[in-house]
Symmetry: C2
Subunit: 141 residues, 2 copies
Amino acid sequence: MTEFKLDQFLPYQIVVLARRLSVGLAEIYSDKYGLTVSEWRVLAHLHDAGTCSVREIHLQADLEKSRVSRAVARLEARDLVVRAAHSGDKRLLVLALSPAGSKLVEEILPQALSFQAEVLGELEDAEGFQTAIRTLLNRDD
Amino acid sequence: MTEFKLDQFLPYQIVVLARRLSVGLAEIYSDKYGLTVSEWRVLAHLHDAGTCSVREIHLQADLEKSRVSRAVARLEARDLVVRAAHSGDKRLLVLALSPAGSKLVEEILPQALSFQAEVLGELEDAEGFQTAIRTLLNRDD
DNA sequence: AAGATATCGTTGCAAACGCAACGAGGTCAA
DNA sequence: TTGACCTCGTTGCGTTTGCAACGATATCTT
């Protein structure tokens, strides 16, 4: 009989860890600001990108394009994001943060960063851990 | 303006990694054997535990009890799991793998383990990585 | 021993999900 | 320039999800 402990199985451990971190982070962007994961990622990416299309967020933020589309619609309804037509290619949307959106993101980011710091702070070799994560993320794409 | 790159943000990286590993693993238990994540976890835990209740799987395998309940129902319909009443406490269910279930798990496990080995093989310091994961998983519970 | 409380597994339901299909617009070749 | 093909963002739809509520059983309290 093959020896196998689910709780020592790496893919399982990482999925569990991911869920825990998500729940922890959600206490910030969801409980305090009423944002979903999709919305938070859209805002975060726009903060960095300045301006971009739905497709770019889909690719850069690991979100189904339908999730991006609906998240953007909700964010626009809350006046956190501005949606405009691209002048050159009319298929594209030009998304950007509104002033209120920028303000909101600036309010959330420090908290997100401190959450990250708190997590990393528990590790002996935080550097090595981050390198490992990056290594795994860069495989096969 | 706060500096923030979503793709360098640890919680995000781990969620993305978790999804990738899940998809990779699913090529084994889902594509080849038609199992869902919930079903796979139930089988894996039963393989190790021998016999247990819905609640125990709920706690040990990080699954909502409704997911366990439904997964068990499907597995029983496929004759992979046996569901019996507990003699002492009639609220409890006694779950166990059927012979066919055992056989199936024995077939899958080596593939799961080799998938894990493949992932760990890409890391310089696999030991350190696993230690870090365990550290993070043991916080606050 | 009886009533209040807690726990077990199941079920109902609203919301979220992923995927496929769509219309609108762009690109490329002949 | 016209037709085939590709890409963009949105929408529809069946499935899955998490949560709350439920009936049944156990336990605790007095």
